[in-house]
Structure formats: structure tokens, C-alpha cells
Symmetry: C2
Subunit: 187 residues, 2 copies
DNA sequence: GTTAGCATGTAAGGAGTTACATGATTTT
DNA sequence: AAAATCATGTAACTCCTTACATGCTAAC
């Protein structure tokens, strides 16, 4: 998760750890909260693996700032992470959301797969919860019922949201199964 | 988290591990997914700590089922977990949601504190995200904007939901600061 | 009689947090 | 010159998952 999000943000522009943490919080909100205790070790690990590099070979700059740049190897890793549209991605909210945040780097076909995969999962989930609610309703107190009902409503809301995005994708002319030859709007 | 949810479910009725896992999935959906690899060790740990006990002193029943009962000591622990209305509870979605599921065991005053605490957190969160969106908007692609917008909408939705529940609490006559002398409706 | 579901457990490992430790720079 | 904020890092620990290992019982 952190690997993905760090590589994704570094692809936009080189940044140092402190800056990354701020950006993470600003852009991703709830699921962008990572502590330095995981962020800094992640950066050094990615550097050791050759996925990122320090821009100013340690010490050239006034203030001690380790600015990291993504390498071609790192971009490849990022691509692989972004093209994964398996169940572990569509079934886990945060995993899906982070992929969505980087949709501009994702193939149109994979985008569609992810959106529909998530939609399908939510549909199944909604059904399962609606069923559970029906079965448990009279054995449960009002608070628990309210909580389950809220979960169902939320799933429905998300399904409509995904439908809107799927339609927008289609409008942009990329619903095909073959790798679309049309270039993406903005790089 | 698991401790709380296990004790909470066992307070309703004695259950064995397998049963608990099913119930967890049925009632809590997304945040009720725990593996046996954490559930069973949790049960044995709670048993060692004296918070739960096995009902049929191992071997009395046909099929090997370890049915656990919550003890008075366990109920005390559960109470303490449920009466905690600090920031760690109101700022973390799952922590809050699980408490809400067990509101029938929570003091009316704590319920109000939790609902308002969560509401306040979401309000701050919404504001922060709306601000970030304003600042980052023109530097971001449509997908990222959409994701942030969705996060804000969701927060607003949740705030309205909390408002409804706060009003329901007030209607039930428990908005006072002093420990309400009125007994709770259903045990 | 064999497949599916019920039922429990353990060992190794992953992915993060908390708490601690340090020091530079900017603001008041 | 003190306080706030910028900036990086490590060690211990928490909490959970995955993968493995086992055996019973119901249904087909």
C-alpha cells in the first residue's frame, strides 16, 4: 500500500519524506495517514531496491532534505501494481481507492475492469448484508439495525457513484476490450 | 478491536469460535472480517486472562466445540472499552462503528459524547479536505478530484446520519450531563 | 465412500504504529 | 532566545493475515 502510494506520488514529481506525508494527508484523507515510522523505512527500502533514487546525492542542499525521484524500474513496479485488477484490489476499499487516485496512469481497459469489479463486489456485498439484516432484524436492537442499514445505504451510494464513473469512461470512448489506440487526454 | 467485538458478541450469548466468525461477517460486514488465525488465539488469550470461560469443560459435548461465555471480569473490560469516548475512538471509523454496534450497553451520556465527538471530527475533516481540494484542484487530474469530492460527500452524508441519531437520542430523553436515572428500554 | 462444510489450532511473516532520539530553520 | 515547525531516523511492539496441519460430521 505505502509502496504504491509513494511511487504514485513520486511519479508526479520528486519529493522528500516530510513533503510526501503532507501530500498523503491532503490528498488521500483517511487512508493517507501513515506515520514516519513506516514512511521513512519505506523510502530507504525502495531506494535499496532501485525503485527510487535521491536527487541531491546527500549533502548538496542546505537543509538536510532527502528528495527522492522515481526510476524507470520504479515506474515498472508502479505499472504492475496499477494494472492488477484482481479481487484483493476490488474487495478492499483502500486498495481500490488508491488505484482510482492513479487512474490517469492506468490503461482504459484496466480502469473499466476495476470499476466493474468493485461494482460487482459491492452489489454482492449489499445483497449479503440485506439478507443478514432480514435474518437478524428481530433478534437485534435498534442501534445494530441502524448500523447495518447504514452499511447497505453506503454500498448503494457507492454503486451509483461507480455507475457514473463507468458512464464517463464510456463517454470518453474507451469501453473496448482491445487495448485502445486512442491516446489519453492529458498526460 | 477483536477483543471488544468478541466480548460484545459473547455478552449477547455464549458462542464458539466458528460461530463468532460467521456472526462477525453477517453483522459487521467489511470491518467484521477477521481470520481464524487471529480469532482463535484471541479466544484463548481472553480465556487465560479470565475474561471468558469455556462452557462445557472441554469434552462434554459430542462435536468438539469450544463454547465461550463472558465472565463478570470480561464484562468489566467490555464496559471500559465501551465507555472510552476519546479521540482514538471518534477519529477511527471502525473503532467508532463497533462502539455504535454495542450502544445498548453504553451509558446514554457516553453515547452522546461518541456521536458528537465523531460528528466534530467529521466536520473538521470535511473542512480540511474541502480546503485541500481548493488548493490542489488545478494541479490535479479529474480522477483525483473525483475521489476527493467523493470523500467530502461521504463525510457530509455521515454527518447528517449522526445528526439523525443525536436527535433520536434526545427524543428518547437522554441528553443530560448527569448520569440519567431513566432505565434503558430493552435490556 | 467421498466431497463439502464444520471446527480448531499453530508458526511465520507482513504492514503498520508508538515512542524515542536528534538536530536544523523559521517565526515570534 | 524561545517556541514552533521542518526534517529524518530507529527499535520495539501490536495486530493481524497466510499458510499449514488436523480431524470430525453431514450430505450426496
Amino acid at each position: 500500500m505505502l509502496d504504491l502510494v509513494v511511487l504514485g506520488l513520486l511519479k508526479e514529481k520528486p519529493m522528500h519524506g516530510y513533503e510526501l506525508k503532507q501530500r498523503l494527508g491532503d490528498q488521500f484523507g483517511t487512508f493517507g495517514r501513515f506515520s514516519y515510522g513506516s514512511l521513512y523505512p519505506t523510502l530507504t527500502r525502495l531506494a535499496k531496491a532501485g525503485s527510487v533514487e535521491m536527487e541531491h546525492a546527500k549533502g548538496e542542499i542546505k537543509r538536510r532534505k532527502n528528495v527522492y525521484v522515481i526510476t524507470p524500474a520504479g515506474e515498472k513496479i508502479l505499472d504492475e501494481l496499477l494494472e492488477d485488477a484482481g479481487p484483493s484490489v476490488t474487495e478492499e476499499r483502500n486498495a481500490f481507492m488508491v488505484r482510482l487516485a492513479f487512474f490517469r496512469y492506468t490503461k482504459p481497459e484496466t480502469r473499466r475492469q476495476l470499476l466493474e469489479g468493485r461494482r460487482g463486489y459491492l452489489q454482492t456485498y449489499r445483497l449479503k448484508m440485506a439478507n443478514s439484516l432480514k435474518n437478524l432484524r428481530d433478534r437485534m436492537d435498534a442501534y445494530s439495525v441502524e448500523l447495518m442499514q447504514h452499511g447497505i445505504t453506503e454500498a448503494e451510494h457507492d454503486i451509483r457513484w461507480l455507475d457514473d464513473m463507468l458512464e464517463a469512461e464510456r463517454r470518453n470512448g474507451n469501453g473496448s476490450t482491445t487495448p485502445a489506440p486512442t491516446p489519453e487526454g492529458a498526460h
